[in-house]
């Protein structure tokens, strides 16, 4: 609580204390409480606290459909509404909840993956929120022109994401651009029905556009001609636009944009010549992503790159064949903050050295699969880039603890490091423990890491959020005990194939209250007992992967059904589950949306039918054996599809691994 409150609190008996604060003052105090868990604790203090918090609450994330109406009425100051995780939300319930609520302040609404919401719900939303500025409709794959037309009525709209709204065509886009002329940020990623015509109209109508994403569209150079007329455009993403080539980039280069960021990654027909002409026209480019599109590097591009030496901060050239001279030329951009050289052939210690000696401001360095690099490269980085925060070294198998010692000593700001497949050992972890700011640590396939190494990390990396121990098969329960003691903020943990782990280890994980994602593939020794500990203790668990946990049976699933009430994603392929256990699980977990259940050999057809019917309205993604497609009743499959559930049928042989 703030000092203000404490002073009031100390002021003698009787009518003093927090109760002396007006609702408004109390509300302002609570505004400064940032952590969601802390805010929840404040709400539970007293009715006055609850009222103050409700009166001032600005953001709301609804998880279940039933209380939606009541919640929308309870928070008059609401500005941001997130319905993306609201299980089984549909038009009727959305419209009903919106009517009667005062949502005049709502500016941002997120409906990502809300596949049950269609144009009726959107009509109601637009009508209820006159000040709507930003809508996220991404991944509503069934959304089409009718939904776009509904959004077009929100004339004040400034940000709109239609990413993966596969049904949107030029017609729907036309309605949006005519209705929402103040659009500043628009994503049409994956809307492959959109053509050059739609983009042309967009460019003519939305003059305020600052950020545009046309990734994966089948649009061509004519679209770039249209886009080049958008004077305020700063950010353009055109990932995997295979119909665009150097001519299009030249058109863009001649345009009148204020382009700062261009993403042309994975564009088959773009070469360094096109990029050179792009840079020619835009000397203030800050971010350039040409990953996986270039095959060779022409001198024209390198010399033009020199023009960007003051402004370029982000450069990604993944997949390119480089040489030391290329890296030397890149080093000329001395303000570089992020460099991507993942899977680039020809990256050597000398090349890295010549790059980093001039780019001392580098914070993100991606050297995935640059397998020629040795500790010398790490030494160069440690000597020159003291501010480095993120280091990706997956498959750089020649590095060792000596190089990491240099990094750990010289780079105290290190927040993320990926050492997958690098063969690091406990000594390396002892050095890395010096990086007390570490948030993400990836140690997949490092089989020489043992509990000792984990003990080093947990002794001082208390801020760790994500830990990947994929196939670190020397880890035992003791290592998990150390983690549970020292890294209390862990949210994502991967222990797949760490087959020495038993229920006792999972018992330790039960004390990690922040844990949201847990991967436990192929842990043959864990049973329902271990699952219970995790389910009871990790109240925030959203995703759990139990594929090939052959000893997990109905008892384990019962524990999940009883305690893991926030679970959204579950993988139980190859588990010893019966129809009864599956049915109980799917009917109890009201937030469960995504289930992978391949090879549940003990579940009968009736079992699948009952279980899937029980969760029909809630499920959004299912993965099942293709053999089931012909034996499950067609009406069940139709019902699932009608409720917005996508089923992936796979044909995998039944194989047991150890």
């Amino acid at each position: 609580m703030s000092e203000e409150v404490q002073r009031y609190g100390g002021g003698g008996g009787g009518g003093g204390g927090v109760a002396a604060l007006s609702l408004d003052l109390l509300g302002q105090v609570l505004d400064r409480v940032r952590e969601p868990r802390d805010r929840k604790a404040c709400r539970l203090v007293s009715r006055a606290f609850a009222r103050a918090e409700a009166a001032h609450r600005r953001a709301l994330r609804v998880l279940r459909r039933e209380p939606l109406a009541r919640l929308l009425r309870a928070f008059p100051a609401l500005e941001r509404l997130d319905l993306s995780a609201c299980a089984s939300l549909d038009d009727a319930s959305l419209a009903a909840a919106l009517s009667g609520a005062d949502l005049a302040g709502v500016r941002r609404v997120c409906l990502a993956r809300a596949s049950g919401v269609g144009w009726r719900g959107l009509d109601a939303l637009v009508a209820a929120c006159p000040r709507l500025e930003a809508v996220d409709l991404s991944h509503c794959v069934g959304a089409g022109d009718r939904e776009a037309a509904a959004l077009a009525a929100a004339t004040g709209l400034r940000e709109l994401s239609l990413e993966k709204c596969l049904g949107v065509t030029d017609m729907g886009l036309a309605k949006v651009v005519v209705g929402c002329s103040r659009l500043e940020k628009l994503s049409l990623k994956w809307c492959r029905e959109i053509s050059d015509i739609g983009i042309d109209l967009l460019s003519k109508k939305c003059h305020e556009l600052r950020s545009l994403d046309i990734s994966y569209l089948k649009v061509g150079n004519e679209s770039l001609r249209s886009i080049s007329s958008l004077e305020k455009l700063e950010e353009l993403a055109m990932v995997c636009c295979s119909c665009i080539d150097d001519d299009g980039l030249e058109l863009l280069g001649k345009g009148s944009n204020s382009l700062q960021s261009v993403d042309a990654s994975r564009c088959d027909h773009v070469t360094s010549k096109g990029l050179a002409s792009l840079i020619d026209g835009h000397n203030f480019l800050q971010k350039l992503n040409a990953a996986d599109s270039l095959h060779e590097m022409r001198q024209s591009f390198l010399s033009n790159l020199a023009k960007l030496k003051d402004t370029l901060t982000v450069l990604r050239l993944d997949g390119l064949e480089v040489s030391s001279s290329v890296l030397l030329a890149i080093g000329g951009c001395t303000n570089l903050v992020e460099i991507g050289l993942s899977k680039c052939n020809g990256v050597t210690d000398e090349g890295i050295s010549s790059l980093v000696t001039r780019c001392s401001h580098l914070r993100v360095i991606d050297l995935t699969c640059c397998n020629l690099l040795t500790n010398n490269a790490l030494d160069s980085i440690a000597d020159n880039c003291k501010m480095v925060e993120c280091l990706r070294l997956e498959s750089c198998s020649s590095i060792s603890e000596k190089g990491l010692e240099q990094i750990a000593t010289s780079c105290p700001n290190l927040k993320e490091i990926d050492l997958t497949d690098c063969g690091v050992n406990d000594a390396a972890l002892q050095h890395l423990a010096k990086c007390s700011e570490l948030l993400v640590l990836k140690l997949g396939l490092c089989s020489s890491i043992s509990d000792k190494g984990l003990a080093f990390i947990s002794s001082s990396c208390g801020k760790l959020i994500e830990l990947d121990l994929y196939r670190c098969n020397s880890i035992t329960d003791d290592g998990l005990a150390a983690l549970a003691n020292g890294c209390k903020k862990i949210k994502m943990l991967n222990l797949c194939y760490c087959n020495k782990i038993t229920d006792s280890g999972l018992g330790h994980l039960g004390s990690l209250e922040e844990l949201t994602n847990l991967e436990l593939r192929c842990l043959a020794r864990i049973t329902g007992i271990g699952i219970s500990s995790v389910a009871i203790g990790c109240k925030n668990l959203i995703e759990i992967d139990l594929k090939r946990c052959y000893s997990v049976d109905d008892a384990g699933l019962w524990a999940l059904a009883r305690y893991a009430l926030n679970l959204r994603q579950l993988t139980i392929s190859y588990c010893q589950v019966t129809g009864l256990g599956l049915c109980h699980l799917l009917s109890s977990l009201r937030c469960l949306q995504d289930v992978k259940m391949v090879h549940l050999s003990w579940v009968s057809i009736e079992g699948f039918e009952m279980a899937l019917r029980a969760a029909c309205g809630r499920l959004k993604k299912l993965k099942m054996l293709s053999g089931l497609k012909s034996v499950l009743s067609p009406e069940l499959l139709q019902m699932l599809q009608a409720c917005g559930c996508r089923i992936r049928w796979v044909n995998k042989p039944l194989v047991y691994k150890d």
Partner: protein
Amino acid sequence: MAELVGPRVYSCCHCRNHVCLHDDIISKAFQGRNGRAFLFSHAMNISMGPKEDRQLMTGLHTVADIYCRDCREVLGWKYERAFEESQKYKEGKFIFEKAKIVKENW
């Protein structure tokens, strides 16, 4: 050419020819010539080199290098024959090196 919206596709790192699907991954725990490699049940748009016997980490195998059909970049190999019983499951399957393939549409 595999449909872009749909299954997750991997492409040749050099010429972006579609070569394999994420759903066909059998195992991610293999070692290639220079680093990590994945075992796939199917491959497409590749051509094969001559069969030869090679002593790998897991024993003697008959393998054939696989090349991208368009640009001839070596992407991995195919297991033609395994001489140990425990390794027989690899026969007919493909190894793609992680450094040689890139995600295409995801």
